[in-house]
Amino acid sequence: MIIGGIDIITLISMLMVASTPVLLAATGELVAEKSGVLNLGVEGMMITGAVAGFATAVSTGSPVLGFVGGALAGAAMAMLFAILTQVFLSNQTATGLALTLFGLGLSALIGKPFEGVRPPATGKVPFGPLSDIPVLGRILFSHDWVVYLSLLLVAVTWAFLKFTRAGLILRAVGENHDAAHALGYRVIAVRCAALAFGGALAGLGGAYLSLIRVPQWTEGMTAGAGWIALAIVVFASWRPERALIGAYLFGGITALQLQLQAAGYAIPVHLLSMAPYVLTIVVLVLLSVVHRRGVQAAPAALGRSFHAAS
């Protein structure tokens, strides 16, 4: 199926791969923000996950261990943020920005010896005859396991927030931490757990970039994906299912502009490279204008420090 020099099936198949890092990071940040913490360090956690995952995979030869390493590194960055903002009550915005700068610098340092190295390859999940189904097989059954994991995580996050008691407590902490504290819930502990989850997912997203999507290590390779993840959370009104749409939109336009470049369209490369960022933001803004509840859906305690006044 080829339209205007672009193979639609390849496009959709590529879209899922291109979206996965942002989807993972956005899902993690969504959970953290639902608990009332604004962590602007997503970009920093992603790039740290990217380099740590890459280094682990190259040194052990196991991509799976690489992803574990990336997630742990992201979670470690998040715990640094948690100690500063939850224990020492530093300003969340400033700390988040610092975390991003720190992550970018740290990853460049760690990554130096790994430049130009090829990581061990991650194979596609063997679906057997399923992947031979025309059209659907290429779109749905031709990916690596992390793509399916990311989709599963979105579903699990959605169900966790909506149906479980732990999810209810997490939302309550994000709505009104004073009330949650008065009822005897441990606000700081809940927020640290949510932050760690958010960091792990951002790290996982970063590792996906360096191990599968690119796959190699280059300095600053996240290229703003963490910021896109943050924007997606806001415009998705803090709902996982909408974050999925936002992430796939971003991935879709990324895939499309790459295909347009490959097809040799006479559009300046810079405009094409810019397109995913601009169009994602524009579409999400329009969406949140249509759903006027956009900003009001924010967790009421988002970004506010909690201190139990004994």
């Binding site: 008691r165 209810l168 939302r171 309550a172 009104n176 009330a179 949650a180 009822l183 509840r293 004994s310």
Partner: protein, 504 residues
């Protein structure tokens, strides 16, 4: 009484610089409605927080049902059979009623069963509630029901209520009291904190009076007059407010057909408000907070602009003017929220005078602040309004609520306004300070200023206002002279009890 449910002995809790509770002891019998009485800062809140496990006592013992009782956290207190309804509601606006209830329970049943039990319990106690509604859409009275139902679902033996009636209409208070009597007749003891003395005389079987963290007496409230109770609380003679009849002058401020759209989803709006107030007159606006009170003050003070031709002062349209031009004309205001709205918490009292005082007072010269004048002005306020503070250099947040309120009101009153609008002038302020603030407002009116007093405290409005009107869901009722107005009539003006209808 032989049987004792809760016995407290020698309970002490000190914070840096202040002993909140000093060897406090009392006991509560099953089914007893026991009042804790005291001024602000007397230590009532700390005491109940210790009983509910939110604060650990430094020393002293508690016994519950004859066994030692040392709750490490609210969970343990709830497990023992102690439940608490908070002064500032511990509710989550973006969650629905059932979710809010579930959060306050140890082992909530699945949502479907819980919704059914909420309906049953709330009907049985005359507090109808729809479990699926968002708490953000509920009135203050309904929100309190959510808290109470949350407690009742756990069959508490002791129910602690911290200032439960401050946000209710008189009819809602009646409903609440019926519920409390039913609970008490079933053997549930109630620890009732309030500084509304008439209520305590109506509902409570016994009372413990706290002053400065110590127990200074106990009594049976029914056998004392409200005045005697107040004197026990304050520990001295109690100066009541004297009212002198005054002549009214020309109309000072007029509002014509003022409407305002809500700012947020759960925010109140204003709908077609018209009123007029004359020199020397005090207009009382009653109603439960959150029905447009803040919005009304914001539009009158100039904080939020309104449509042309809606706000008039001395015959001139001032709808388009901001707060400072209005101050120049003599229209001042004191909002409800003391910290963050009326005063900047981290700025000194001197600096805080500059926030509203630069227009009518000589605090600025050639664009430079005149700090000496500002300090003198702050000292004037502190002296005239008996603000208890070491001096004008103290940060606003370091003052207790009552003292800061006196400062905020004093700052406006001493600038000799021609029109003064205040919202909740004595909210959370103890009896003596509240009386001082009311006297200051009356004196201002005697000098010919026009005052609008917005308050939830109906007794206060009856005491100082000449005319009364109710603000409910953004609409204002026709004003009526306060003389001869009964509490029932006021209740009806306030729209009766919110959400009386049983949900389908």
């Amino acid at each position: 009484m032989t049987e004792i449910l809760l016995k407290i002995d020698g309970l002490t809790k000190a914070y840096p610089g202040v002993v909140a509770n000093d060897h406090v002891g009392f006991s509560v019998a099953p089914g007893e409605v026991h009042a804790l009485l005291g001024e602000n800062g007397a230590g009532k809140s700390t005491l109940v927080k210790m009983i509910y496990g939110l604060v650990k006592p430094d020393s002293g013992t508690m016994e519950f049902l004859g066994r030692p009782y040392t709750p490490a956290e609210p969970r343990a207190a709830r497990a023992a059979g102690v439940a608490m309804v908070f002064q500032h509601f511990s509710l989550f606006e973006a969650l629905n009623v059932a979710e809010n209830v579930a959060l306050g329970m140890e082992n909530p049943p699945p949502m479907r069963d819980l919704a059914k039990r909420i309906r049953e319990i709330s009907q049985a106690y005359g507090l109808p509630l729809d479990p699926a509604r968002l708490v953000g859409d509920l009135s203050a009275g309904e929100r309190q029901r959510v808290e109470i139902v949350r407690c009742l679902l756990q069959d508490p033996k002791l129910l602690i209520m911290d200032e439960p009636t401050s946000v209710l209409t008189p009819q809602e208070v009646e409903i609440l009291f019926r519920t409390l009597r039913k609970l008490s007749s079933e053997g549930t003891a109630i620890l009732y904190i309030s500084h509304k003395l008439e209520e305590i005389r109506t509902i409570c079987d016994g009372a413990t009076i706290l002053r400065g963290g110590k127990v200074v007496g106990s009594c049976i409230p029914r056998e004392k007059s409200a005045r005697e109770l107040a004197e026990m609380m304050v520990g001295g003679e109690f100066a009541a407010t004297e009212r002198v009849s005054r002549p009214f002058g020309a109309p000072m401020l007029e509002v014509k057909g003022l409407s305002l759209a809500p700012l947020s989803q759960f925010g109140p709006s204003l709908k077609d408000i018209s009123l007029s107030i004359a020199a020397g007159e005090i207009l009382g606006i009653g109603g439960v907070a959150g029905n447009g009170q803040e919005e009304l003050l914001a539009t009158l003070s100039g904080e939020r602009p309104s449509a042309p031709g809606t706000v008039w002062m001395k015959g001139a349209d001032i709808s388009a003017l901001g707060p400072n031009p209005r101050r120049a004309l003599g229209l001042m205001s004191a909002p409800e929220e003391r910290l963050g709205h009326a005063a900047v918490p981290n700025m000194s009292l001197t600096d805080n005078t500059l926030l509203t005082g630069t227009i009518r007072m000589p605090l600025v010269k050639n664009g430079f602040l005149n700090m000496a004048e500002a300090k003198a002005f702050a000292e004037d306020i502190i002296r005239e309004f008996d603000v208890r503070t070491p001096g004008p250099w103290v940060a606003a947040r370091a003052l207790s609520g009552g003292n800061l309120q006196k400062f905020v009101i004093g700052r406006e009153v001493l600038q000799k306004p021609e029109v003064l609008i205040v919202n909740q002038p004595t909210w959370g302020v103890d009896a003596a300070a509240a009386a001082a603030i009311r006297r200051a407002l009356l004196r201002l009116a005697e000098k010919g200023a026009a005052l609008i007093v917005i308050s939830q405290d109906l007794d206060e409005l009856m005491e100082i206002a000449d005319r009364f009107c109710a603000l409910n869901e953004g609409r204002i009722s026709a004003p009526r002279p306060t003389e001869g107005l009964t509490i029932d009539e006021i209740g009806l003006m306030l729209g009766g009890a919110h959400g009386m209808e049983v949900p389908a």
